[in-house]
Protein backbone atom coordinates (compact mmCIF):
# COMPACT_ATOMS: atom_id res chain seq x y z
CA UNK A 1 0.00 0.00 0.00
CA UNK A 2 2.77 2.39 0.94
CA UNK A 3 4.67 1.53 -2.20
CA UNK A 4 1.57 2.27 -4.28
CA UNK A 5 1.28 5.74 -2.76
CA UNK A 6 4.99 6.38 -3.21
CA UNK A 7 4.84 5.16 -6.76
CA UNK A 8 1.91 7.38 -7.64
CA UNK A 9 3.49 10.41 -5.99
CA UNK A 10 6.85 9.81 -7.65
CA UNK A 11 5.11 9.27 -10.95
CA UNK A 12 3.29 12.57 -10.53
CA UNK A 13 6.55 14.34 -9.63
CA UNK A 14 8.24 12.90 -12.62
CA UNK A 15 5.51 13.76 -15.00
CA UNK A 16 5.25 17.32 -13.66
CA UNK A 17 9.03 17.87 -13.60
CA UNK A 18 9.72 16.52 -17.07
CA UNK A 19 6.91 17.99 -18.99
CA UNK A 20 7.88 18.00 -22.61
CA UNK A 21 10.93 15.99 -23.50
CA UNK A 22 9.99 12.54 -22.17
CA UNK A 23 7.84 10.16 -24.08
CA UNK A 24 5.02 8.19 -22.52
CA UNK A 25 6.87 4.86 -22.40
CA UNK A 26 10.03 6.16 -20.76
CA UNK A 27 7.92 7.84 -18.06
CA UNK A 28 6.26 4.53 -17.37
CA UNK A 29 9.63 2.79 -17.42
CA UNK A 30 11.15 5.23 -14.93
CA UNK A 31 8.15 4.93 -12.67
CA UNK A 32 8.28 1.14 -12.81
CA UNK A 33 12.03 1.17 -12.14
CA UNK A 34 11.60 3.34 -9.09
CA UNK A 35 8.71 1.20 -7.89
CA UNK A 36 10.78 -1.97 -8.17
CA UNK A 37 13.68 -0.38 -6.35
CA UNK A 38 11.38 0.89 -3.67
CA UNK A 39 9.81 -2.53 -3.33
CA UNK A 40 13.20 -4.14 -3.06
CA UNK A 41 14.12 -1.37 -0.74
CA UNK A 42 11.09 -2.23 1.36
CA UNK A 43 12.13 -5.86 1.62
CA UNK A 44 15.68 -4.84 2.41
CA UNK A 45 14.51 -2.35 4.99
CA UNK A 46 12.27 -4.83 6.78
CA UNK A 47 14.90 -7.56 6.78
CA UNK A 48 17.45 -5.13 8.12
CA UNK A 49 15.08 -4.10 10.86
CA UNK A 50 14.34 -7.70 11.76
CA UNK A 51 18.04 -8.47 12.06
CA UNK A 52 18.58 -5.29 14.06
CA UNK A 53 15.73 -6.25 16.37
CA UNK A 54 16.46 -9.92 16.87
CA UNK A 55 20.25 -10.06 16.82
CA UNK A 56 21.16 -6.46 17.53
CA UNK A 57 18.53 -6.34 20.25
CA UNK A 58 20.00 -9.44 21.86
CA UNK A 59 23.43 -7.83 21.83
CA UNK A 60 21.95 -4.70 23.36
CA UNK A 61 20.25 -6.82 26.03
CA UNK A 62 23.49 -8.62 26.89
CA UNK A 63 25.27 -5.28 27.14
CA UNK A 64 22.53 -4.02 29.44
CA UNK A 65 22.84 -7.13 31.61
CA UNK A 66 26.45 -6.12 32.16
CA UNK A 67 25.79 -2.44 32.61
CA UNK A 68 23.01 -2.91 35.15
CA UNK A 69 25.32 -4.78 37.52
CA UNK A 70 27.37 -1.79 38.76
CA UNK A 71 24.21 0.33 38.70
CA UNK A 72 22.38 -2.08 41.02
CA UNK A 73 25.51 -2.43 43.09
CA UNK A 74 25.91 1.29 43.63
CA UNK A 75 22.36 2.53 43.63
CA UNK A 76 20.71 -0.25 45.65
CA UNK A 77 23.72 -1.54 47.52
CA UNK A 78 23.16 -5.05 46.23
CA UNK A 79 25.81 -7.71 46.58
CA UNK A 80 27.47 -9.02 43.46
CA UNK A 81 25.64 -12.36 43.02
CA UNK A 82 22.20 -10.77 43.55
CA UNK A 83 23.11 -7.82 41.32
CA UNK A 84 24.28 -10.08 38.50
CA UNK A 85 21.12 -12.16 38.73
CA UNK A 86 18.70 -9.25 38.83
CA UNK A 87 20.57 -7.43 36.06
CA UNK A 88 20.23 -10.47 33.80
CA UNK A 89 16.51 -10.66 34.51
CA UNK A 90 15.99 -6.97 33.83
CA UNK A 91 17.89 -7.22 30.56
CA UNK A 92 14.90 -9.07 29.08
CA UNK A 93 12.91 -5.85 29.32
CA UNK A 94 15.65 -4.09 27.37
CA UNK A 95 15.44 -6.80 24.70
CA UNK A 96 11.70 -6.33 24.36
CA UNK A 97 12.13 -2.57 24.28
CA UNK A 98 14.83 -2.85 21.61
CA UNK A 99 12.60 -4.96 19.38
CA UNK A 100 9.67 -2.56 19.59
CA UNK A 101 11.98 0.44 19.20
CA UNK A 102 13.56 -0.97 16.04
CA UNK A 103 10.23 -1.13 14.38
CA UNK A 104 9.27 2.37 15.43
CA UNK A 105 12.12 4.15 13.75
CA UNK A 106 11.69 5.94 10.44
CA UNK A 107 14.37 4.02 8.58
CA UNK A 108 16.30 0.84 9.18
CA UNK A 109 19.51 2.83 9.38
CA UNK A 110 18.16 4.80 12.33
CA UNK A 111 17.20 1.52 14.01
CA UNK A 112 20.73 0.20 13.63
CA UNK A 113 22.10 3.50 14.86
CA UNK A 114 20.04 3.28 18.02
CA UNK A 115 20.95 -0.34 18.68
CA UNK A 116 24.65 0.23 18.21
CA UNK A 117 24.69 3.44 20.22
CA UNK A 118 22.86 1.88 23.16
CA UNK A 119 25.07 -1.21 23.17
CA UNK A 120 28.17 1.00 23.13
CA UNK A 121 26.73 3.13 25.90
CA UNK A 122 26.03 0.10 28.08
CA UNK A 123 29.46 -1.40 27.48
CA UNK A 124 31.23 1.88 28.19
CA UNK A 125 29.17 2.36 31.34
CA UNK A 126 30.15 -1.09 32.55
CA UNK A 127 33.83 -0.64 31.76
CA UNK A 128 33.98 2.74 33.41
CA UNK A 129 31.97 1.79 36.48
CA UNK A 130 34.07 -1.28 37.26
CA UNK A 131 37.70 -0.23 36.86
CA UNK A 132 38.92 -3.47 38.40
CA UNK A 133 37.33 -6.80 37.74
CA UNK A 134 36.15 -7.08 41.33
CA UNK A 135 32.89 -5.52 42.38
CA UNK A 136 31.87 -5.02 45.96
CA UNK A 137 31.14 -8.66 46.68
Amino acid sequence: MQSVIIRVSVGVCFSSANSGSHTQTSWVYKEFYIFMNLHNHYIFSMTSRVIAAVIGGYGCAVASSFALVPWLNIAFDMQKPDAVYLATMLSYLFYLGAIIWCFCQKTALLAWRDIIMSSLFFSLFYLLATPTKELVA
Binding site: V62, S65, M78, A83, V84, A87, M89, S91
Partner: protein, 504 residues
Protein backbone atom coordinates in the same frame (compact mmCIF):
# COMPACT_ATOMS: atom_id res chain seq x y z
CA UNK B 1 8.69 2.42 4.44
CA UNK B 2 6.27 5.00 5.72
CA UNK B 3 6.68 5.23 9.49
CA UNK B 4 3.13 4.46 10.52
CA UNK B 5 3.24 3.03 13.98
CA UNK B 6 0.01 1.10 13.80
CA UNK B 7 0.85 -0.43 10.44
CA UNK B 8 4.25 -1.44 11.73
CA UNK B 9 2.69 -3.05 14.73
CA UNK B 10 0.24 -4.92 12.53
CA UNK B 11 3.11 -6.22 10.39
CA UNK B 12 5.06 -7.20 13.49
CA UNK B 13 2.05 -8.89 15.05
CA UNK B 14 1.32 -10.84 11.89
CA UNK B 15 4.79 -12.10 11.29
CA UNK B 16 5.90 -12.70 14.85
CA UNK B 17 2.73 -14.70 15.27
CA UNK B 18 3.05 -16.55 12.00
CA UNK B 19 6.69 -17.60 12.03
CA UNK B 20 6.55 -19.49 15.30
CA UNK B 21 2.78 -19.80 15.52
CA UNK B 22 2.60 -23.56 15.34
CA UNK B 23 5.35 -24.11 17.89
CA UNK B 24 3.70 -21.59 20.20
CA UNK B 25 0.37 -23.39 19.78
CA UNK B 26 1.93 -26.75 20.66
CA UNK B 27 3.68 -25.34 23.68
CA UNK B 28 0.53 -23.66 24.97
CA UNK B 29 -1.66 -26.75 24.53
CA UNK B 30 0.75 -29.08 26.30
CA UNK B 31 1.45 -26.43 28.89
CA UNK B 32 -2.25 -25.91 29.61
CA UNK B 33 -2.61 -29.65 30.03
CA UNK B 34 0.26 -29.56 32.52
CA UNK B 35 -1.93 -27.66 34.94
CA UNK B 36 -3.52 -31.05 35.53
CA UNK B 37 -0.24 -32.96 35.41
CA UNK B 38 -0.76 -35.02 38.56
CA UNK B 39 -4.37 -35.72 37.76
CA UNK B 40 -3.59 -37.02 34.30
CA UNK B 41 -0.78 -39.10 35.74
CA UNK B 42 -3.19 -40.61 38.19
CA UNK B 43 -5.59 -41.53 35.39
CA UNK B 44 -2.70 -43.05 33.51
CA UNK B 45 -1.68 -45.18 36.48
CA UNK B 46 -5.02 -46.70 37.37
CA UNK B 47 -3.39 -49.41 39.46
CA UNK B 48 -2.90 -46.83 42.17
CA UNK B 49 -6.56 -47.25 42.89
CA UNK B 50 -9.09 -44.88 44.37
CA UNK B 51 -9.02 -45.75 48.02
CA UNK B 52 -8.76 -42.97 50.58
CA UNK B 53 -5.39 -42.82 52.33
CA UNK B 54 -5.03 -44.76 55.58
CA UNK B 55 -5.05 -43.01 58.94
CA UNK B 56 -1.51 -43.61 60.03
CA UNK B 57 0.11 -43.26 56.66
CA UNK B 58 3.33 -41.69 57.86
CA UNK B 59 3.92 -44.07 60.75
CA UNK B 60 3.29 -47.14 58.67
CA UNK B 61 5.51 -45.85 55.88
CA UNK B 62 8.25 -45.26 58.41
CA UNK B 63 7.82 -48.86 59.54
CA UNK B 64 8.19 -50.04 55.96
CA UNK B 65 11.29 -47.94 55.54
CA UNK B 66 12.94 -49.23 58.68
CA UNK B 67 12.30 -52.78 57.46
CA UNK B 68 13.60 -52.25 53.94
CA UNK B 69 16.24 -49.58 54.30
CA UNK B 70 17.84 -49.79 57.69
CA UNK B 71 21.27 -48.95 56.33
CA UNK B 72 20.33 -46.17 53.96
CA UNK B 73 21.54 -42.64 54.51
CA UNK B 74 18.33 -40.94 53.45
CA UNK B 75 14.69 -41.92 53.72
CA UNK B 76 12.00 -40.04 51.92
CA UNK B 77 8.22 -40.30 52.02
CA UNK B 78 6.15 -38.52 49.37
CA UNK B 79 2.67 -38.23 50.76
CA UNK B 80 -0.54 -38.39 48.71
CA UNK B 81 -2.22 -35.03 48.28
CA UNK B 82 -5.29 -33.35 46.79
CA UNK B 83 -3.89 -33.84 43.35
CA UNK B 84 -2.31 -37.24 43.53
CA UNK B 85 -3.13 -40.51 45.19
CA UNK B 86 0.42 -41.75 45.06
CA UNK B 87 2.28 -42.74 48.23
CA UNK B 88 5.91 -43.38 47.56
CA UNK B 89 8.85 -44.26 49.79
CA UNK B 90 12.37 -43.71 48.56
CA UNK B 91 15.73 -44.45 50.05
CA UNK B 92 19.24 -43.69 48.88
CA UNK B 93 22.78 -44.25 49.99
CA UNK B 94 23.87 -40.65 50.05
CA UNK B 95 22.46 -37.16 50.26
CA UNK B 96 23.74 -36.13 46.83
CA UNK B 97 21.08 -35.15 44.34
CA UNK B 98 22.19 -37.66 41.75
CA UNK B 99 22.64 -40.59 44.13
CA UNK B 100 21.13 -43.92 43.28
CA UNK B 101 17.61 -44.16 44.63
CA UNK B 102 15.32 -47.07 45.29
CA UNK B 103 11.70 -46.26 45.43
CA UNK B 104 8.57 -48.25 46.04
CA UNK B 105 5.02 -47.10 45.51
CA UNK B 106 2.67 -48.19 48.24
CA UNK B 107 -1.05 -48.57 48.22
CA UNK B 108 -2.17 -45.60 50.28
CA UNK B 109 -4.59 -47.67 52.36
CA UNK B 110 -3.08 -51.10 52.83
CA UNK B 111 0.51 -49.97 52.37
CA UNK B 112 1.22 -52.99 50.26
CA UNK B 113 3.66 -52.35 47.46
CA UNK B 114 2.10 -51.74 44.02
CA UNK B 115 3.76 -51.69 40.66
CA UNK B 116 1.99 -49.00 38.66
CA UNK B 117 2.54 -49.28 34.93
CA UNK B 118 5.69 -47.70 33.61
CA UNK B 119 4.54 -44.45 32.10
CA UNK B 120 5.55 -40.83 32.12
CA UNK B 121 1.96 -39.87 32.68
CA UNK B 122 1.02 -36.22 32.60
CA UNK B 123 4.65 -35.33 33.10
CA UNK B 124 5.23 -36.04 29.44
CA UNK B 125 3.14 -33.02 28.49
CA UNK B 126 4.99 -30.85 30.94
CA UNK B 127 8.39 -32.01 29.72
CA UNK B 128 7.27 -31.75 26.10
CA UNK B 129 6.29 -28.15 26.41
CA UNK B 130 9.81 -27.05 27.12
CA UNK B 131 11.95 -29.77 25.59
CA UNK B 132 9.81 -30.46 22.50
CA UNK B 133 11.30 -33.96 22.60
CA UNK B 134 14.58 -32.71 21.20
CA UNK B 135 17.93 -33.90 22.45
CA UNK B 136 19.83 -32.15 25.23
CA UNK B 137 19.03 -28.48 25.52
CA UNK B 138 17.91 -27.84 21.94
CA UNK B 139 14.22 -27.82 22.79
CA UNK B 140 14.65 -25.31 25.58
CA UNK B 141 16.30 -22.80 23.26
CA UNK B 142 13.59 -23.29 20.69
CA UNK B 143 10.88 -22.87 23.27
CA UNK B 144 12.67 -19.79 24.60
CA UNK B 145 12.71 -18.22 21.15
CA UNK B 146 9.01 -19.07 20.84
CA UNK B 147 8.36 -17.37 24.18
CA UNK B 148 10.13 -14.23 22.98
CA UNK B 149 8.10 -14.20 19.77
CA UNK B 150 4.95 -14.63 21.86
CA UNK B 151 5.87 -11.61 23.97
CA UNK B 152 6.41 -9.51 20.85
CA UNK B 153 3.12 -10.77 19.44
CA UNK B 154 1.31 -9.81 22.65
CA UNK B 155 2.72 -6.29 22.69
CA UNK B 156 2.16 -5.66 19.03
CA UNK B 157 -1.29 -7.22 19.35
CA UNK B 158 -2.25 -4.67 22.01
CA UNK B 159 -1.24 -1.87 19.66
CA UNK B 160 -2.92 -3.47 16.68
CA UNK B 161 -6.23 -3.59 18.47
CA UNK B 162 -5.77 -0.19 20.06
CA UNK B 163 -9.46 0.40 20.03
CA UNK B 164 -9.99 -2.63 22.20
CA UNK B 165 -11.71 -0.75 24.94
CA UNK B 166 -14.27 0.27 22.43
CA UNK B 167 -14.32 -2.96 20.51
CA UNK B 168 -13.72 -5.83 22.78
CA UNK B 169 -17.16 -6.06 24.21
CA UNK B 170 -18.44 -6.56 20.67
CA UNK B 171 -18.93 -9.96 19.12
CA UNK B 172 -20.33 -10.11 15.62
CA UNK B 173 -21.63 -13.54 14.83
CA UNK B 174 -23.03 -13.07 11.34
CA UNK B 175 -19.93 -13.68 9.21
CA UNK B 176 -17.58 -16.43 10.31
CA UNK B 177 -14.34 -14.59 9.68
CA UNK B 178 -15.54 -11.50 11.55
CA UNK B 179 -16.74 -13.70 14.40
CA UNK B 180 -13.39 -15.45 14.65
CA UNK B 181 -11.56 -12.11 14.53
CA UNK B 182 -13.72 -10.73 17.32
CA UNK B 183 -13.25 -13.86 19.40
CA UNK B 184 -9.51 -13.57 18.74
CA UNK B 185 -9.60 -9.98 19.98
CA UNK B 186 -11.56 -10.78 23.11
CA UNK B 187 -9.46 -13.86 23.90
CA UNK B 188 -6.42 -11.66 23.45
CA UNK B 189 -7.70 -8.97 25.76
CA UNK B 190 -8.75 -11.24 28.58
CA UNK B 191 -5.49 -13.15 28.50
CA UNK B 192 -3.09 -10.19 28.24
CA UNK B 193 -1.75 -10.50 31.82
CA UNK B 194 -1.88 -14.31 31.72
CA UNK B 195 0.04 -14.63 28.45
CA UNK B 196 2.51 -11.96 29.44
CA UNK B 197 3.31 -13.56 32.78
CA UNK B 198 3.55 -17.05 31.36
CA UNK B 199 5.83 -16.07 28.48
CA UNK B 200 7.98 -13.82 30.63
CA UNK B 201 8.31 -16.40 33.38
CA UNK B 202 9.18 -18.99 30.76
CA UNK B 203 12.09 -16.82 29.69
CA UNK B 204 13.10 -16.29 33.31
CA UNK B 205 13.08 -19.99 34.15
CA UNK B 206 15.88 -20.81 31.76
CA UNK B 207 17.57 -17.46 32.11
CA UNK B 208 20.93 -19.08 32.79
CA UNK B 209 20.74 -20.73 29.38
CA UNK B 210 19.36 -17.76 27.45
CA UNK B 211 21.48 -14.97 28.93
CA UNK B 212 24.48 -16.70 30.44
CA UNK B 213 27.09 -14.11 29.51
CA UNK B 214 26.99 -11.89 32.55
CA UNK B 215 26.81 -14.84 34.93
CA UNK B 216 29.64 -16.69 33.24
CA UNK B 217 31.84 -13.63 33.29
CA UNK B 218 31.33 -12.67 36.90
CA UNK B 219 31.81 -16.04 38.56
CA UNK B 220 34.67 -18.48 38.45
CA UNK B 221 32.57 -21.53 37.79
CA UNK B 222 30.11 -19.61 35.70
CA UNK B 223 26.41 -19.97 36.04
CA UNK B 224 26.55 -23.29 37.86
CA UNK B 225 28.14 -21.41 40.71
CA UNK B 226 25.58 -18.70 41.05
CA UNK B 227 22.90 -20.75 42.78
CA UNK B 228 25.15 -21.35 45.77
CA UNK B 229 25.55 -17.62 46.27
CA UNK B 230 22.02 -16.51 45.77
CA UNK B 231 19.68 -19.06 47.29
CA UNK B 232 19.16 -19.66 50.94
CA UNK B 233 19.19 -23.22 52.06
CA UNK B 234 19.23 -25.30 55.22
CA UNK B 235 22.66 -25.77 56.70
CA UNK B 236 24.28 -29.04 55.66
CA UNK B 237 24.13 -32.00 58.02
CA UNK B 238 27.30 -33.70 59.22
CA UNK B 239 27.00 -37.28 60.47
CA UNK B 240 28.40 -37.89 63.94
CA UNK B 241 28.77 -41.64 63.38
CA UNK B 242 27.03 -42.43 66.66
CA UNK B 243 24.09 -44.75 66.60
CA UNK B 244 20.76 -43.35 67.73
CA UNK B 245 17.21 -44.51 67.06
CA UNK B 246 14.95 -41.88 65.54
CA UNK B 247 11.33 -41.28 66.46
CA UNK B 248 9.04 -43.39 64.34
CA UNK B 249 5.80 -42.17 65.80
CA UNK B 250 5.17 -39.07 63.81
CA UNK B 251 1.98 -37.82 65.48
CA UNK B 252 3.71 -35.61 68.02
CA UNK B 253 5.94 -34.10 65.36
CA UNK B 254 2.91 -33.49 63.17
CA UNK B 255 1.30 -31.49 65.96
CA UNK B 256 4.48 -29.42 66.31
CA UNK B 257 4.48 -28.74 62.58
CA UNK B 258 0.84 -27.70 62.68
CA UNK B 259 1.69 -24.86 65.02
CA UNK B 260 3.94 -23.39 62.32
CA UNK B 261 2.04 -24.51 59.21
CA UNK B 262 -1.60 -24.42 60.21
CA UNK B 263 -3.29 -25.42 56.97
CA UNK B 264 -4.64 -28.91 56.36
CA UNK B 265 -2.48 -31.21 54.26
CA UNK B 266 0.52 -28.96 54.74
CA UNK B 267 3.13 -31.70 54.57
CA UNK B 268 4.14 -32.71 51.09
CA UNK B 269 7.28 -34.70 51.75
CA UNK B 270 9.18 -36.03 54.75
CA UNK B 271 12.88 -36.72 54.56
CA UNK B 272 14.98 -38.47 57.18
CA UNK B 273 18.61 -37.53 56.68
CA UNK B 274 21.01 -39.99 58.31
CA UNK B 275 18.14 -41.70 60.15
CA UNK B 276 20.19 -43.84 62.51
CA UNK B 277 22.77 -41.22 63.33
CA UNK B 278 22.87 -38.96 66.36
CA UNK B 279 23.23 -35.88 64.15
CA UNK B 280 20.54 -36.92 61.74
CA UNK B 281 17.52 -34.74 61.16
CA UNK B 282 14.08 -34.76 59.62
CA UNK B 283 13.41 -32.28 56.84
CA UNK B 284 9.74 -31.62 56.17
CA UNK B 285 8.68 -29.91 52.96
CA UNK B 286 5.54 -27.87 52.73
CA UNK B 287 2.81 -28.23 50.14
CA UNK B 288 2.94 -25.00 48.07
CA UNK B 289 -0.63 -23.95 48.75
CA UNK B 290 -0.17 -20.49 50.16
CA UNK B 291 2.90 -19.02 48.58
CA UNK B 292 3.44 -17.89 45.01
CA UNK B 293 7.13 -18.62 45.18
CA UNK B 294 8.28 -21.99 43.91
CA UNK B 295 10.78 -22.33 46.72
CA UNK B 296 9.86 -25.28 48.87
CA UNK B 297 9.53 -24.18 52.44
CA UNK B 298 11.35 -26.60 54.69
CA UNK B 299 11.62 -27.26 58.37
CA UNK B 300 14.44 -29.16 59.98
CA UNK B 301 13.37 -31.21 62.99
CA UNK B 302 15.42 -33.11 65.50
CA UNK B 303 14.40 -36.78 65.13
CA UNK B 304 15.13 -37.60 68.74
CA UNK B 305 13.35 -34.80 70.54
CA UNK B 306 10.81 -33.78 67.91
CA UNK B 307 11.68 -30.09 68.22
CA UNK B 308 12.09 -27.75 65.27
CA UNK B 309 15.78 -26.99 64.82
CA UNK B 310 15.82 -24.70 61.86
CA UNK B 311 13.56 -23.05 59.38
CA UNK B 312 14.83 -22.16 55.95
CA UNK B 313 15.36 -18.43 55.60
CA UNK B 314 13.32 -16.59 52.97
CA UNK B 315 15.04 -15.69 49.73
CA UNK B 316 16.51 -12.31 49.03
CA UNK B 317 15.01 -10.05 46.40
CA UNK B 318 16.95 -11.10 43.31
CA UNK B 319 16.26 -14.80 43.59
CA UNK B 320 12.77 -14.15 44.90
CA UNK B 321 11.79 -12.42 41.66
CA UNK B 322 12.58 -15.53 39.65
CA UNK B 323 11.01 -17.77 42.29
CA UNK B 324 7.75 -15.86 42.18
CA UNK B 325 7.62 -15.88 38.39
CA UNK B 326 8.50 -19.58 38.37
CA UNK B 327 5.77 -20.22 40.91
CA UNK B 328 3.25 -18.23 38.87
CA UNK B 329 4.23 -20.22 35.83
CA UNK B 330 3.77 -23.61 37.43
CA UNK B 331 0.79 -22.55 39.53
CA UNK B 332 1.30 -25.29 42.08
CA UNK B 333 -0.36 -22.99 44.59
CA UNK B 334 -3.64 -23.09 42.75
CA UNK B 335 -6.65 -24.56 44.47
CA UNK B 336 -9.08 -26.45 42.20
CA UNK B 337 -11.19 -23.37 41.47
CA UNK B 338 -8.22 -21.19 40.64
CA UNK B 339 -6.71 -23.94 38.57
CA UNK B 340 -9.85 -24.28 36.51
CA UNK B 341 -9.79 -20.50 35.98
CA UNK B 342 -6.18 -20.70 34.85
CA UNK B 343 -7.05 -23.67 32.65
CA UNK B 344 -9.85 -21.62 31.12
CA UNK B 345 -7.42 -18.80 30.40
CA UNK B 346 -4.98 -21.32 28.96
CA UNK B 347 -7.69 -22.63 26.66
CA UNK B 348 -8.56 -19.06 25.68
CA UNK B 349 -4.90 -18.44 24.81
CA UNK B 350 -4.64 -21.58 22.69
CA UNK B 351 -7.81 -20.50 20.94
CA UNK B 352 -6.17 -17.11 20.48
CA UNK B 353 -3.15 -18.63 18.77
CA UNK B 354 -5.09 -21.09 16.63
CA UNK B 355 -7.61 -18.46 15.55
CA UNK B 356 -4.77 -16.08 14.73
CA UNK B 357 -3.30 -18.61 12.33
CA UNK B 358 -6.68 -19.33 10.75
CA UNK B 359 -7.53 -15.63 10.42
CA UNK B 360 -4.24 -14.88 8.67
CA UNK B 361 -4.84 -17.61 6.17
CA UNK B 362 -8.44 -16.73 5.41
CA UNK B 363 -7.79 -12.99 5.16
CA UNK B 364 -4.95 -13.57 2.71
CA UNK B 365 -6.96 -16.04 0.67
CA UNK B 366 -9.78 -13.52 0.43
CA UNK B 367 -7.52 -10.73 -0.78
CA UNK B 368 -4.99 -12.39 -3.03
CA UNK B 369 -5.80 -13.31 -6.62
CA UNK B 370 -3.23 -16.02 -7.07
CA UNK B 371 -2.27 -18.42 -4.32
CA UNK B 372 1.32 -19.28 -3.87
CA UNK B 373 3.29 -21.84 -1.96
CA UNK B 374 3.26 -19.88 1.29
CA UNK B 375 -0.51 -20.06 1.55
CA UNK B 376 -0.54 -23.79 0.93
CA UNK B 377 2.16 -24.37 3.52
CA UNK B 378 0.28 -22.35 6.13
CA UNK B 379 -2.96 -24.10 5.27
CA UNK B 380 -1.59 -27.59 5.64
CA UNK B 381 0.50 -26.73 8.68
CA UNK B 382 -2.56 -25.26 10.34
CA UNK B 383 -4.55 -28.45 10.03
CA UNK B 384 -1.72 -30.80 10.83
CA UNK B 385 -0.67 -28.87 13.91
CA UNK B 386 -4.03 -28.03 15.40
CA UNK B 387 -5.84 -31.26 14.68
CA UNK B 388 -2.67 -33.31 14.77
CA UNK B 389 -1.86 -32.33 18.31
CA UNK B 390 -5.40 -32.98 19.51
CA UNK B 391 -5.52 -36.42 17.93
CA UNK B 392 -1.97 -37.24 19.07
CA UNK B 393 -2.94 -36.54 22.68
CA UNK B 394 -5.86 -38.92 22.32
CA UNK B 395 -3.44 -41.43 20.78
CA UNK B 396 -1.15 -41.08 23.79
CA UNK B 397 -4.03 -41.92 26.12
CA UNK B 398 -5.01 -44.89 23.98
CA UNK B 399 -1.41 -46.11 24.03
CA UNK B 400 -1.41 -45.88 27.80
CA UNK B 401 -4.41 -48.15 28.06
CA UNK B 402 -3.61 -50.56 25.25
CA UNK B 403 0.12 -51.28 25.47
CA UNK B 404 0.68 -54.36 27.66
CA UNK B 405 2.09 -53.60 31.08
CA UNK B 406 5.08 -55.89 30.82
CA UNK B 407 6.55 -54.33 27.69
CA UNK B 408 10.06 -53.02 28.13
CA UNK B 409 10.55 -49.28 27.65
CA UNK B 410 6.83 -48.83 27.85
CA UNK B 411 6.96 -45.10 28.51
CA UNK B 412 9.14 -44.57 25.44
CA UNK B 413 6.68 -46.55 23.39
CA UNK B 414 3.77 -44.36 24.54
CA UNK B 415 5.67 -41.24 23.50
CA UNK B 416 6.48 -42.80 20.16
CA UNK B 417 2.80 -43.53 19.60
CA UNK B 418 2.08 -39.86 20.33
CA UNK B 419 4.60 -38.71 17.74
CA UNK B 420 3.64 -41.28 15.13
CA UNK B 421 -0.04 -40.40 15.44
CA UNK B 422 0.87 -36.78 14.81
CA UNK B 423 2.90 -37.76 11.77
CA UNK B 424 0.04 -39.83 10.42
CA UNK B 425 -2.34 -36.91 10.78
CA UNK B 426 0.16 -34.67 9.00
CA UNK B 427 0.41 -37.11 6.10
CA UNK B 428 -3.38 -37.37 6.03
CA UNK B 429 -3.75 -33.61 5.64
CA UNK B 430 -1.36 -33.63 2.70
CA UNK B 431 -3.45 -36.22 0.95
CA UNK B 432 -6.98 -34.92 1.49
CA UNK B 433 -8.49 -31.64 0.38
CA UNK B 434 -8.56 -28.92 3.00
CA UNK B 435 -12.29 -28.87 3.74
CA UNK B 436 -12.49 -32.64 3.93
CA UNK B 437 -9.37 -32.81 6.08
CA UNK B 438 -10.78 -30.45 8.72
CA UNK B 439 -14.10 -32.25 8.80
CA UNK B 440 -12.76 -35.77 8.93
CA UNK B 441 -10.08 -34.99 11.47
CA UNK B 442 -12.63 -33.31 13.73
CA UNK B 443 -14.78 -36.42 13.43
CA UNK B 444 -11.86 -38.70 14.24
CA UNK B 445 -10.85 -36.56 17.22
CA UNK B 446 -14.40 -36.42 18.55
CA UNK B 447 -14.96 -40.14 18.19
CA UNK B 448 -11.53 -40.88 19.66
CA UNK B 449 -12.09 -38.86 22.79
CA UNK B 450 -15.61 -40.15 23.32
CA UNK B 451 -14.50 -43.76 23.02
CA UNK B 452 -11.63 -43.41 25.51
CA UNK B 453 -13.71 -43.78 28.69
CA UNK B 454 -15.60 -46.60 27.04
CA UNK B 455 -12.33 -48.39 26.31
CA UNK B 456 -11.20 -47.76 29.85
CA UNK B 457 -14.41 -49.32 31.15
CA UNK B 458 -14.05 -52.35 28.88
CA UNK B 459 -10.45 -52.99 29.88
CA UNK B 460 -11.08 -53.01 33.60
CA UNK B 461 -14.46 -52.18 35.07
CA UNK B 462 -13.03 -51.89 38.57
CA UNK B 463 -11.12 -48.70 37.98
CA UNK B 464 -14.14 -46.62 37.15
CA UNK B 465 -16.45 -48.37 39.60
CA UNK B 466 -14.01 -47.96 42.45
CA UNK B 467 -13.48 -44.33 41.51
CA UNK B 468 -17.22 -43.84 41.57
CA UNK B 469 -17.76 -45.55 44.91
CA UNK B 470 -14.81 -43.87 46.58
CA UNK B 471 -15.71 -40.49 45.12
CA UNK B 472 -12.36 -40.23 43.41
CA UNK B 473 -13.14 -36.95 41.72
CA UNK B 474 -9.79 -36.88 39.94
CA UNK B 475 -10.44 -40.04 37.93
CA UNK B 476 -14.02 -39.06 37.17
CA UNK B 477 -13.16 -35.53 36.11
CA UNK B 478 -10.36 -36.66 33.78
CA UNK B 479 -12.80 -38.95 32.03
CA UNK B 480 -15.48 -36.25 31.95
CA UNK B 481 -12.95 -33.88 30.42
CA UNK B 482 -12.30 -36.41 27.68
CA UNK B 483 -16.01 -36.74 27.03
CA UNK B 484 -16.41 -32.96 26.89
CA UNK B 485 -13.48 -32.61 24.49
CA UNK B 486 -14.97 -35.28 22.26
CA UNK B 487 -18.34 -33.55 22.26
CA UNK B 488 -16.82 -30.18 21.43
CA UNK B 489 -14.95 -31.73 18.51
CA UNK B 490 -18.16 -33.30 17.24
CA UNK B 491 -20.06 -30.00 17.61
CA UNK B 492 -17.40 -28.28 15.50
CA UNK B 493 -17.58 -31.13 13.01
CA UNK B 494 -21.34 -30.73 12.69
CA UNK B 495 -21.08 -26.96 12.31
CA UNK B 496 -18.34 -27.23 9.71
CA UNK B 497 -20.25 -29.88 7.77
CA UNK B 498 -23.40 -27.78 7.69
CA UNK B 499 -21.42 -24.74 6.64
CA UNK B 500 -19.60 -26.55 3.87
CA UNK B 501 -22.79 -28.11 2.55
CA UNK B 502 -24.49 -24.72 2.67
CA UNK B 503 -21.66 -23.05 0.77
CA UNK B 504 -21.61 -25.79 -1.84
Amino acid sequence: MKPDFRKTMIWLHTYSGLVFGWVIFTIWVTGTLSYYNDEISQWMRPELGSQPPAQQVVNRSLQELSLRASDAKQWRISLPSDRSNRLRITWSDSLERRAKRHSVTLNSQTLAPIEPRETQGGNFFRAFHYTLELRNYGGRYFAGAAAMFMLVAIFSGIFTHRRFFRDFFTLRFKKTLKAVTDLHAIAGVITIPFCFILSFSALLIYISSYMPWSMEYHFDNGRRDIDKHISTRLSPVKPANELAIPITNFDHIEKTIQTVWPEKGAISRISYQYPYDANGRIVVTRQPLLSLSNKSEQLAINPHTGQIIEEIKPERVARMVRRVFYGLHEARFASPILRSLLFFMGLASTFLIASGLIIWLNKRLEKVKKRHLGHTIVERLNISTIMGLIIAIAGYFYANRLIPITTTDRSELEINVFLITWLCVAIYTLVRSVKRAWQELLLIAGAGYLLLPVLDFIINKQWLLQAWSNRNLIYISVESAMLITGMICLVFYGWLKRRNNHVK
